[in-house]
């Protein structure tokens, strides 16, 4: 077996080699990946800085839950930290790279079966390696009566994205809400099924989340308490019709009225899916990346791109300054009613323009429907010319216009100060919350831009927490900084998380540092990344 120059911290060479041998006996030697070429494929492809800071020592790729159990038991024996990934495409949050350098990646991509599709009840049972592409193809092959909710890039895992609290653009767009029933390998190697799945031989696993007793599913999202090896996911029945809506407002200070007008429409379910409000800068970039253009095509100056340049570009393209897009799902007549209500709500807003498109069952899918997964969104990473990447800061805020605008402006001020273009989308997560998703693009060879981006994240996290906000998700380099925001009563929530962690995982072998949850024995690493 090839040698790895990277080691799990505190693990002797003999133990490491013995662990790799044990893994090879479980999965076969070809699925213990140690060569330089293989380890390179596990580096964070969009790393903000030196990807070696989060280098894996090796990867092991099981094919079944039984193999995961055996690997976890061996990892306990040799004290090897494991970093589970599903499809390993969590780019901008670390890809397939671990928080703790030297961890062994537990690569679940080979567990890629769609185990069940139930068109009558609207669910599927999948393994972690199933991507949105895979599930879409399987559903189409099964008859196309069920639709997925896909995030912007479709190569991610259905399970992984739901566990990381990802979002899509249909009525099922809050993916963690669509989870129903999990199979989990605990850090001890035991196998557990949640909800109705705890009844031996049940057929009711994917229809009722609650079972009997405490509901555990949430504990295995954004955590390091277990390896999810199967998950039920609720799926939307194919609607009769879909409408696309673009609401454009003409003024730089129209964000509050946009938010306040959309809020009741989303709350009473007139708008029955995720909406995205794009800031002026993002409205340009999204158009550009589809054409393969980048920053130098409109601006070559230093610092954050000036708002005048942005508004001039939008005016030339005939676009509004603030743009909200969303899709509506209903019967055709239902869409008419929904669209009339939206028109009525925006009628008193000066300069509001509404454009729509329609689709009916039987017509071919169109890109605006976001029904088919794709990778269209990825082009934006080359904004500064590439090879690119991005970091995100996405605090959660209520959709109250003034509150949103204050938060948006405070982030904007810092982007300008740090000389970074302010790409921002505001997405609703259910009717009562917005994410202000502020994105910092960088070229991977621009050390100065990356340094400024990293500092900017830390400043935004500190200021955000001081104002009562928290980030909803974070890159592996910022997991401690994001966890620091949740600081009520001396970080009591983190203390609880870590008490659970120590109870379930006394040797601390599963994903140390994920979401800022460090096991006893390695808490000294907190804040180092």
């Amino acid at each position: 077996m090839a040698q790895s120059p990277v080691r799990p911290p505190g693990v002797s060479e003999d133990s490491f080699q013995a662990a790799l041998k044990a893994f090879a006996a479980i999965v076969g030697p070809e699925w213990v990946l140690v060569s330089e070429e293989d380890r390179h494929t596990y580096l964070d492809a969009f790393a903000p800085g030196n990807p070696d800071e989060h280098a894996a020592s090796a990867a092991v790729a099981p094919k079944s839950a039984e193999e995961v159990q055996a690997i976890v038991k061996a990892a306990n024996r040799y004290r090897i930290p494991l970093w589970p990934v599903s499809t390993g495409r969590n780019l901008a949050y670390g890809g397939s790279a671990p928080v703790l350098r030297g961890s062994v990646v537990l690569d679940l991509k080979r567990m890629n079966r769609v185990l069940e599709i139930d068109e009558e009840l609207g669910y599927a049972l999948v393994e972690p390696g199933v991507s949105f592409f895979d599930l879409f193809e399987a559903l189409q092959a099964a008859g196309g009566k069920l639709w997925i909710s896909t995030p912007a890039p479709g190569w991610g895992s259905v399970i992984g994205n739901a566990l990381e609290h990802g979002l899509g653009y249909t009525p099922y767009g809050v993916h963690a809400d669509t989870i129903c029933g999990m199979e989990i390998v605990l850090p001890s190697g035991e196998l557990v099924r949640t909800g109705m799945g705890a009844v031996q031989g049940t057929r009711e696993w994917q229809i009722f989340k609650y079972g009997y007793g405490p509901v555990w599913d949430g504990l295995f999202t954004q955590s390091n308490f277990g390896v999810v090896t199967k998950m039920g996911v609720w799926l939307m029945p194919q609607p009769e019709a879909v409408a696309y809506v673009l609401v454009s407002l003409p003024n730089v200070d129209d964000l509050p009225v946009m938010v306040d007008t959309l809020r009741p429409l989303r709350l009473n379910d007139t708008i029955n899916a995720t909406y995205t409000i794009t800031n002026p800068f993002r409205s340009i970039v999204d158009g550009f990346s589809a054409q393969g253009k980048s920053r130098a095509d409109i601006y070559k100056g230093p610092g954050s791109i000036p708002l005048e340049v942005v508004t001039r570009e939008l005016a030339a393209a005939g676009r509004g300054i603030w743009n909200a897009t969303f899709n509506l799902f209903d019967r055709d007549k239902g869409l008419d009613l929904r669209l009339a209500a939206i028109q009525e709500a925006f009628a008193p807003v000066p300069g509001a323009k509404i454009q729509t498109r329609r689709w009916q069952r039987g017509q071919p899918f169109e890109q605006w429907m976001r029904v088919q997964p794709g990778l269209f969104a990825l082009g934006i990473v080359d904004w500064y010319g590439g090879p690119g990447g991005h970091m995100n800061f996405a605090p959660v805020v209520a959709p109250i216009g003034r509150r949103v605008a204050d938060l948006y402006d405070s982030i904007y001020k810092r982007f300008v100060e740090y000389g970074i273009d302010y790409y921002c989308g505001l997405l609703n997560v259910g009717p009562r919350a917005l994410l202000v998703n502020a994105v910092m693009f960088f070229n991977r060879d621009d050390a100065d831009l990356i340094r400024r981006g990293r500092e900017l994240y830390r400043v935004l996290a500190q200021e955000g927490a001081a104002a009562g906000y928290g980030d909803y998700r974070a890159h592996i380099s910022f997991m401690d900084a994001a966890a620091d925001m949740y600081n009520y009563n001396g970080h009591a929530l983190r203390a609880l998380n870590e008490r659970v962690k120590d109870a379930l995982d006394p040797h601390g072998i599963l994903a140390p540092g994920k979401q800022g949850i460090w096991p006893q024995g390695s808490r000294g690493n907190r804040g180092r990344t």
């Binding site: 494929t41 990867a59 390993g88 397939s96 592409f133 393969g292 088919q372 590439g386």
Partner: protein, 110 residues
């Protein structure tokens, strides 16, 4: 994805189909892998294709039409990555599938 795209293109072209030489078994496998994984960035009008058009020219943008690719280059770029294209792990594209993709993409280059 590819089936739906092809359907749309076929109907746009009134049923016309470009003449394609018969593919070997390995090339057919390579095409299946390409259509399942690569096409999302290297199909017509999408990101990878647009980037290649910008880097070279339109004739070099669509990988499936290229006449100057080497199998070794395909294998290396897939495993190492290029520009903003991330490397592909062995668990995503096996060595056999990668050889098949390389055979498919270089069929016009031999």
């Amino acid at each position: 994805m590819r089936a739906l795209l092809a359907l749309a293109l076929l109907s746009a072209a009134g049923g016309a189909q470009a003449a394609e030489p018969v593919l070997s078994a390995q090339e057919q496998q390579g095409k299946r892998v390409f259509d399942h994984i690569c096409v999302y960035c290297h199909g017509p009008g999408v990101w990878g294709t647009n980037r290649l058009a910008r880097r070279y020219d339109k004739d070099h943008a669509l990988l499936e039409s290229r006449t100057d690719l080497s199998a070794q280059a395909v294998r290396t770029i897939v495993r190492v990555g290029l520009g903003s294209m991330p490397p592909m792990r062995r668990t995503e594209v096996s060595d056999a599938d990668l050889d098949a993709v390389a055979a498919y993409l270089t069929r016009k280059s031999r």
